[in-house]
Symmetry: C2
Subunit: 167 residues, 2 copies
């Protein structure tokens, strides 16, 4: 199996966004059964100065979107951060999944030779694409995914690591 | 910059284990200043049925070790899970870093063509190395790294996402 920019992005993002959707679906059921107001979990945090669940899901999907756009030169669509309920957050994940599925192996062919432009302390900085994806984009995506999982877990949603890792 | 099995493992593990060490160092200082017993944070959990910080650090380093051994056919050393204090956990991370630094680009050359053997429900199962690393090993490493970070953050240790992502 060859190693490629496609292999380290599209199948990974697809699998883990699907897993995030499944975890959010379990959270929806939990909230319904316990008659918890639909906006409560979305606003939950692990520390008062940490961003809430809504942000973690928005950031996961945004970072997936930007990673693929930077690798291909495609313009990133703008997604409004208006999600409140778990259903809204699942729709956001679905938007992310649809976007990921619009990238083919051909779209990402040769992306390992690109430089990507990032803002670092307000300045445009050029970084090799491989370095950006492996050392920054993928870790940050898993950071926000895991934080979303941890927030739900901490609030009693019946999920385990198997739900994070998926099939 | 070429994409390789080395590029998606060794530099990533090195950077994020170093970041974990820095976060644990901040936790050590926090514990000393507040005269918290040295074993308390190591036993902290985000949910009563979730494994504690010691496990998260042990699992991070174990998964790094197994990923590199599976890719190269090297035998994995056995590390006793005896850590109690934050100093112990930093020593465990150091052990992980030393092990990672023993792998060269040449050691991992061609690893994308290997099959790795995993136990799946007690059965030996062959999985392509690229699939194992991208869809399972790296996500699980970031799962445990982020959980360690989240546990410390939840307990008031003054860290931010910048400390997770590092330089």
């Amino acid at each position: 199996m060859p190693i490629s920019m496609y292999a380290i992005t599209v199948p990974v993002f697809t699998r883990y966004l699907n897993n995030l959707d499944a975890v959010l679906a379990t959270a929806e059921k939990f909230v319904e059964e316990r008659k918890i107001k639909p906006e409560v979990l979305g606003q939950s945090r692990l520390a008062p100065d940490m961003l809430p669940l809504t942000f973690q899901v928005q950031s996961t999907t945004d970072r997936v979107k930007f990673a693929l756009c930077r690798l291909t030169g495609r313009e990133a669509p703008s997604w409004q951060d208006t999600e409140v309920t778990l259903a809204d957050l699942r729709a956001r994940v679905k938007k992310g999944l649809d976007f990921v599925s619009s990238f083919s192996e051909a779209d990402l062919a040769g992306a390992e030779n690109r430089m990507v432009t990032l803002k670092v302390r307000g300045e445009d900085t050029q970084v090799p694409a491989v370095e950006h994806i492996t050392l920054n984009a993928v870790p940050q995506i898993f950071f926000h995914l895991t934080t979303a999982y941890a927030l739900l877990r901490h609030n009693g949603v019946p999920i385990g690591k198997r739900d994070f890792v998926g099939a």
